[in-house]
C-alpha cells in the first residue's frame, strides 16, 4: 500500500478519503486555507499543511502550491475528491510527471471526456443513445441550421463544461444567438474555453447515473444506477438507488454499455456516466471522471467501499470483485443537508454551529465535517452533511430517513432539513414519480412555507400564553441568541 496520501480537498469528502486511507494503513496529509484552520479534516489527518492564499483565491485550486507541498513532503499519492482540482488534467499530469500517483482516471481520459462533443460521439459508438445534438458551433448560420434540424427548444451547452454550468436554453431562432453569446461567455469565465454546441432540450426528464470502477488491467464493473432527479438550481438535493423506473434488464443492458464505453477509452478508477431519462429513453449526458458527492448511495446498496477501491486501484491492485459479485440489496437514499434557507430560494446561510446532534441507528450514516462551535466559511459551498439511509424497500427507506431527520438537529442558521420533511410528505414522491422539475411542479416550497408558518403560530401562541402566566420579564427566556446573528438581518 501507499505510505502516504495527500487529500487535495476539504469538508466531508476530505474526511471520507482520510477514513478510507487510514483503514488501508496509509498516512494522511490534509491541506487547508486560513479560514479552514479549525476544520475537522485538519484535525483528523495525520498531518496538515496550511496553504497560502493569493488574492482571496481559494488555495485548494492552487496547483503549483499543492504540487510543491507533495514534492517537499515526498507524498506518494494524491486524492482530489470532487470539485476543486478533481477534473483538472493539468493537475493530474503534473503529479504523474513527478512520479506521484493521482487517484483518479489518467489525464488523457479526463481531457477526452471533458470534451462533451467527443464524449457524445464515443457514447453513440458503443451503442448508447445520445439526444439529438450538433458539432461545435462554428458560426451563426451553422447554429441556425443545426437548431432547426434538432428542432426547438434547444440547449446551448459548453463543450468543456459540466455540472450544469454554461447552459442556456433557446426557444426559437430569436433567442438562439443571445443564448450562444451568454453560454459562451459563462463557459469562458468558468472553464477558460468558450466553445459551445447544441443539444435537444428535454422537458422534465429524470436524471439517472451509473457508477463504474475500472482497474489498471482492463477490468471494468458497474455498480448500478443512482436516481438524482430531486434538484434545485440544477444542483442535486436527494439521490437514491435503485431508480424506480430502471428494470433489471435495463440495468444490465446500460451497465454493459457503460463498461464498454469505459474500456473503449481505457478508463481507470471510479467514474460516473450521467443520463437523462425521458419517455422510457435513456439518453447519454456526460461522464464525470471522479468520485461523486452521492457515492455513498451505491456503497449502502452494494456494500462496496468505493473510495478504498479507488486507492487500491491507483496502487495497481486488481479489482477485488467481479461483476457477478455485485448484489443490490434494498433501497438507499442520500439527503444533502445544506446551510441554506429553503424559503428564500435556497439562499446560503453560513454561520456558527450552535448545536449539532447527528442521527444514528442501523443503516443510518451521516457524513459531515461540522461540529458544535464550528463556523461554516462563506467562501465554499453550502453542503454541511450527507444523511444516507438504507432499508429493504423504498417505503421503509423513506420512513428511516424521516425518523433520522427527527434526530438530526443543526442549530445556528437555516438549513434545508425542513425541505426534506416536506418532500417525504408528498404522495407523488412516495410513489416514485419524479423529475428534475419536481420541486416546482409539486409547489413544495409553498407547502413548506405554510407548514413552517403553522409551526411558528403554535410556538408563538405558547410564547404568549407563557408570558401571560409568568412574570412579565419572563419573555426574556425567549431571546434565544444565535440565529439572528447568523441571519444577520437588521430591522
Amino acid at each position: 500500500m501507499f505510505s502516504s496520501l495527500l487529500v487535495a480537498n476539504r469538508g466531508e469528502i476530505a474526511i471520507r478519503i482520510i477514513r478510507a486511507a487510514r483503514e488501508l494503513g496509509v498516512k494522511t496529509y490534509a491541506i487547508y486555507t486560513s479560514v479552514d484552520k479549525n476544520a475537522l479534516h485538519v484535525k483528523l489527518a495525520d498531518e496538515a499543511i496550511e496553504l497560502e492564499e493569493f488574492n482571496g483565491q481559494p488555495g485548494y485550486l492552487d496547483i503549483d502550491q499543492i504540487f510543491a507541498i507533495c514534492n517537499r513532503l515526498n507524498i506518494e499519492s494524491v486524492h482530489p475528491g470532487y470539485g476543486f482540482l478533481s477534473e483538472s488534467e493539468i493537475f493530474a499530469k503534473k503529479l504523474i510527471a513527478e512520479g506521484i500517483i493521482y487517484i483518479g482516471p489518467p489525464p488523457e481520459v479526463i481531457e477526452l471526456l471533458g470534451n462533451k462533443v467527443k464524449s457524445r460521439e464515443l457514447a453513440r459508438r458503443v451503442g448508447l443513445t445520445v439526444p439529438p445534438g450538433s458539432d461545435i458551433i462554428r458560426n451563426e448560420n451553422h447554429a441556425n441550421r443545426e437548431a432547426r434540424r434538432i428542432s426547438y427548444p434547444v440547449l446551448v451547452k459548453a463543450v468543456y463544461g459540466g455540472g450544469g454550468m454554461g447552459i442556456q436554453k433557446a426557444e426559437n431562432a430569436e433567442e438562439l444567438q443571445s443564448a450562444i453569446a451568454n453560454a459562451s461567455a459563462q463557459a469562458e469565465a468558468a472553464f477558460g474555453r468558450g466553445e459551445v454546441f447544441l443539444e435537444k432540450f428535454l422537458e422534465h426528464p429524470r436524471h439517472i447515473e451509473f457508477q463504474i470502477l475500472a482497474d489498471n488491467f482492463g477490468k471494468v464493473v458497474h455498480l448500478g444506477e443512482r436516481e438524482c432527479s430531486i434538484q434545485r438550481r440544477n444542483q442535486k438535493l436527494l439521490e437514491e438507488a435503485p431508480s424506480t423506473v430502471i428494470s433489471h434488464d435495463e440495468r444490465k443492458r446500460i451497465g454493459r454499455l457503460v463498461c464498454k464505453l469505459a474500456r473503449r477509452v481505457k478508463y481507470r478508477n471510479a467514474g460516473t456516466i450521467e443520463f437523462l431519462l425521458k419517455d422510457g429513453n435513456i439518453l447519454f449526458n456526460e461522464v464525470n471522471p471522479r468520485i461523486q458527492v452521492e457515492h455513498p448511495v451505491t456503497e449502502m446498496l452494494t456494500g462496496k467501499d468505493i473510495v478504498k477501491e479507488q486507492i487500491r486501484i491507483a496502487k495497481g491492485e486488481h479489482l477485488s470483485f467481479k461483476q457477478s459479485d455485485i448484489k443490490f440489496r434494498g433501497h438507499a437514499m442520500e439527503l444533502r443537508i445544506n446551510a441554506e434557507d429553503p424559503l428564500l430560494d435556497f439562499r446560503p446561510t453560513p454561520g456558527r454551529v450552535r448545536k449539532f446532534t447527528a442521527p444514528g441507528g442501523p443503516q443510518v450514516r451521516f457524513d459531515t465535517a461540522i461540529y458544535e462551535g464550528f463556523t461554516i466559511p462563506d467562501c465554499y459551498d453550502s453542503l454541511i452533511g450527507k444523511l444516507i439511509v438504507a432499508d429493504e424497500t423504498r417505503e421503509e427507506a423513506i420512513v428511516r430517513a424521516k425518523m433520522a431527520l427527527k434526530e438530526l438537529s443543526i442549530l445556528g442558521f437555516a438549513t434545508n432539513i425542513p425541505f426534506f420533511e416536506e418532500l417525504f410528505n408528498d404522495e407523488k414522491f412516495k410513489s416514485g414519480d419524479i423529475s428534475i422539475k419536481f420541486i416546482e411542479e409539486r409547489k413544495l416550497l409553498e407547502k413548506l412555507k405554510k407548514r413552517i408558518c403553522l409551526q411558528a403560530s403554535a410556538l408563538f401562541a405558547v410564547g404568549m400564553k407563557k408570558n401571560e402566566t409568568n412574570l412579565p420579564d419572563q419573555s426574556k427566556q425567549w431571546q434565544m441568541k444565535g440565529k439572528l446573528e447568523a441571519v444577520g438581518r437588521d430591522y
Binding site: E340, T349, A461, K483, V487
Partner: protein, 163 residues
C-alpha cells in the same frame, strides 16, 4: 399596542401579526389552541397537534430542539408607497464577497433594480434596491469581503412632487 412581530424559527425569518381572533404568519391565518398540563404545552392548530417543552433554557418542538425567537416589529412598517420617503441602507444579509457593483454614485435606481452581486458559498446573490431613489453612498468595492450586516450602499429617495 403594536401587534406585529418578527419571528425566527431555526434561522428562517417570518412576519407575524396577532389580532383578537387569530395569528397571521406570512399571509396564512391560524387559530392555535394552547393547553398547559404543568409539564409541557400542547397546541392544536389546523388539525395538527404540537408538543412544546421548555427544558434547560432550550425549546423543544415535538421532542426536537429548535431555535425560536420573536420580537416586536418596528412600528413603522416598510411598505410599498410608504417606502418612497425613507432612505434605504443596503446591508449584507449574509457574509460573502462582492463580485460586482452594478451602480455608480449618483445613479438613479428603480425599485428591485440590481445594485450589486454578493457571492456567498459559491452562489451569486443579486442585491436589489428596495426603493426608487438615487445612489447616495457606495461603501464597498468589487473584491471586498463583507460581514453580515455590514453597510454596503445607501439609497436616497427621490423627492416627490408633493415635497
Amino acid at each position: 399596542m403594536e401587534n406585529k412581530y418578527k419571528i425566527t424559527l431555526n434561522g428562517i425569518d417570518l412576519d407575524l401579526e396577532r389580532t383578537a381572533e387569530k395569528i397571521i404568519v406570512e399571509n396564512y391565518s391560524f387559530t392555535p389552541e394552547v393547553i398547559y398540563n404543568g409539564k409541557f404545552y400542547k397546541v392544536f392548530v389546523s388539525g395538527h397537534e404540537f408538543k412544546i417543552e421548555f427544558k434547560d433554557n432550550a425549546i423543544f418542538l415535538n421532542g426536537k430542539e429548535i431555535d425560536f425567537d420573536f420580537r416586536h416589529s418596528p412600528s413603522i412598517q416598510m411598505r410599498k408607497g410608504a417606502q418612497a420617503k425613507r432612505q434605504a441602507d443596503i446591508k449584507a444579509a449574509i457574509p460573502g464577497k462582492i463580485v460586482d457593483v452594478k451602480v455608480n454614485l449618483g445613479d438613479v435606481v428603480s425599485d428591485q433594480q440590481c445594485l450589486l452581486i454578493l457571492e456567498s458559498m459559491k452562489m451569486r446573490n443579486e442585491i436589489l434596491s428596495p426603493i426608487d431613489g438615487v445612489v447616495d453612498k457606495i461603501l464597498v468595492n468589487t473584491g471586498d469581503q463583507v460581514l453580515a450586516r455590514q453597510l454596503m450602499i445607501k439609497i436616497k429617495p427621490i423627492k416627490t412632487e408633493k415635497e
